[in-house]
């Protein structure tokens, strides 16, 4: 697999960094690949813009920043506005469909696929796990990482006692992603 660049964007409090970290961890620890993550570091707090840059590659990673991502994972309208124009032509946007409303401003050949992750998370019992639903959706739609790798990364990243809830959130997002991916084919 060549170098795949991913940008995860949303609001502080949505678990944006953890979402990026789990994708990186699944690749680097459980997926036998190289991965780096850099967080957009500023005076971020709950409710303000927040993003993570993740690179997954079969080879060692030199330049660690993501400028023109292959994949965007977006959980807020502001993140869409900021990052959609940076997407590589032919790239993929994965978005929270009740918060983000894609317009026509995507580069040529780009695809956008949505998931109501917040609603799914609420139905599972806690809105907080929307980021894990997004991780599952990422794995299901892209096929970049195996379900097993992502599941292991989720389970050793979340607080003790929340494993079951998070595992269900992951599964929900993954299955929705698989269905979406096959419907697109």
């Amino acid at each position: 697999m060549p170098r795949t660049e991913i940008r995860v964007g949303g609001l502080g409090g949505q678990g944006v960094i953890l979402c990026g970290s789990i994708i990186g961890k699944a690749a680097a620890i459980h997926g036998g690949k190289h991965a780096t993550m850099i967080q957009a570091f500023g005076p971020e707090a709950r409710g303000s813009a927040c993003s993570a840059q993740v690179i997954v590659s079969d080879e060692t990673i030199g330049y660690p920043y993501v400028k023109n991502p292959d994949i965007l994972v977006l959980m807020s309208p502001d993140a869409y506005k900021l990052f959609a124009p940076t997407l590589k032509p032919g790239g993929l946007v994965l978005y929270e469909s009740e918060l983000v409303h894609p317009d026509k401003n995507l580069p040529a050949g780009a695809k956008a696929v949505g998931i109501p992750a917040t609603r799914f998370a609420e139905e599972l019992g806690r809105r907080l796990v929307l980021n894990i639903v997004m991780v599952g959706f990422f794995a299901g739609t892209t096929g970049l990482l195996s379900y097993e790798a992502v599941q292991k990364a989720v389970l050793d990243s979340v607080p003790k006692g929340t494993e079951d809830l998070n595992a269900r959130a992951l599964k929900k997002g993954f299955e929705f992603g698989r269905e979406t991916a096959s419907a697109r084919r």
């Binding site: 970290s21 990186g24 961890k25 680097a28 620890i29 190289h34 991965a35 780096t36 993550m37 850099i38 967080q39 570091f41 500023g42 990673i61 030199g62 330049y63 660690p64 920043y65 990364a153």
Partner: protein
């Protein structure tokens, strides 16, 4: 001696450079940090403060960096392995006590997670602009050692080396990270404690009455005792004799200062640590360190695809500078290309070693982000003679 398993978090982790540096220090036996947390180094001490009560040791958040840099020295005399953690603005405040650590020969580690300067500069963004400050920042003549990790894994591995070198040479050792290396998350493999080699303190075997705190053997480094264990010790920032008492005359000054320099200068071959890639037979050699070495590697590989014989020499230990190695290379290399996140610091050392035998091309950068690999590639192509010189930009 092997690492104490209590401080070793064996396993495979996905952590950033700051956290990995903390784990390296714990594995190396560091049991005391005094610090005044500052971005982008805060996570190092944040983790240490969480971990150390379970391992056995102390973290003190001091009133400022001046106090931090002297508290660690007190803890060293009480027998601990010690470190402090800061960024440029804090490092500037520590300069007085770095001089004391040099003259009193205190083994200790200073972590500098470099950010843009001068002054408070760019708190959350990278630079490599403290390289000359750590070498020359305190007054007087002295030598230090400085290491430059380029990944979270090296933040762990090289931190152990930093502590070991501090004990071997009894000098302050500088751990020159930058914001990107500090905040970048990658896989970090921490081995079992039994696989980690630790240099024990040079404990003196002499009895009280026989021991002199600054009496050095053939390796020019005196042995240590723990304050309060019965030996008579005296520690001062003044020029001193073997007993540690002030002696303020030219002969004592010559004897002490020459030993402080020679214990590093005469053994600098032991302290060469570089990573060489394709340097033999190269017409252009890129010299880099820290995060810039990763960006430069992308440019080096691209230049090779374009047919340039380009090597890459990465400084793992930047101080003492491997001048003899660069001088030897300069006899066969057409040009050296030196990218760094400052306006031209380590390039001065390259020029000094090359002595005009080859071209030296600086690629300065004021910091705030890293170089574009393309900017490094252009200079490599130009230096190799395969591309027309680009119009000159700022500075050099």
């Amino acid at each position: 001696m092997k690492a104490d398993p209590k401080g070793v978090l064996t396993g495979i982790h996905f952590i950033d450079g700051d956290h990995a540096a903390c784990e390296g220090a714990l594995a190396a036996g560091c049991r005391f940090i005094a610090g005044y947390p500052i971005t982008p180094s805060t996570e190092v001490v944040e983790r240490f403060a969480q971990r150390i009560p379970h391992i056995g040791g102390i973290f003190i958040q001091m009133e400022d960096e001046i106090a931090s840099s002297i508290a660690i020295q007190g803890a060293m005399w009480a027998g601990k392995k010690v470190m402090t953690v800061t960024s440029g603005p804090g490092l500037s405040l520590m300069m007085e006590h770095i001089g004391l650590a040099a003259i009193a020969e205190v083994p200790c580690v200073f972590v500098d997670v470099q950010r843009g300067g001068p002054s408070t500069g760019l708190p959350t963004l990278p630079a490599q602009a403290d390289m000359m400050q750590v070498k020359w920042g305190s007054h007087g003549d002295y030598e230090i050692i400085a290491l430059c990790p380029n990944s979270p894994q090296e933040c762990f591995d090289l931190m152990i080396k930093a502590f070991n070198l501090a004990e071997t040479f009894r000098v302050p050792v500088f751990f020159m990270m930058d914001e990107v290396v500090g905040h970048m998350t990658e896989r970090v493999v921490i081995p079992e404690a039994s696989k980690i080699e630790i240099t024990e303190r040079r404990w003196s075997k002499k009895k009280p009455g026989e021991y002199k705190p600054y009496e050095a053997g053939p390796d020019m480094v005196p042995d240590l005792v723990k304050a309060g264990d019965g030996h008579r010790i005296h520690i001062t920032g003044l020029t001193h004799d073997e007993r540690g008492y002030p002696v303020l005359n030219p002969a004592a000054q010559k004897k002490l200062v020459e030993r402080l320099l020679d214990k590093i200068r005469l053994r600098k071959d032991e302290l060469v640590d570089v990573r060489q890639d394709g340097v033999d037979g190269a017409e252009v050699v890129v010299v880099s360190f820290g995060i810039t070495s990763r960006v430069a590697q992308a440019a080096v590989e691209e230049a090779r695809r374009k047919g340039v014989k380009v090597g890459h020499l990465r400084l793992v230990i930047a101080w003492p500078f491997p001048a003899a190695l660069i001088a030897e290379l300069s006899k066969s290399v057409k040009a050296f290309v030196v990218p760094e996140l400052n306006m031209g610091q380590m390039v001065l050392e390259v020029e000094r070693a090359v002595l005009g035998r080859a071209r030296v091309v600086s690629i300065p950068h004021p910091g705030g982000t890293v170089h574009e690999p393309g900017a490094i590639l252009d200079k490599i192509m130009e230096a190799s003679g395969k591309a027309a010189p680009a119009p000159q930009g700022a500075a050099r």
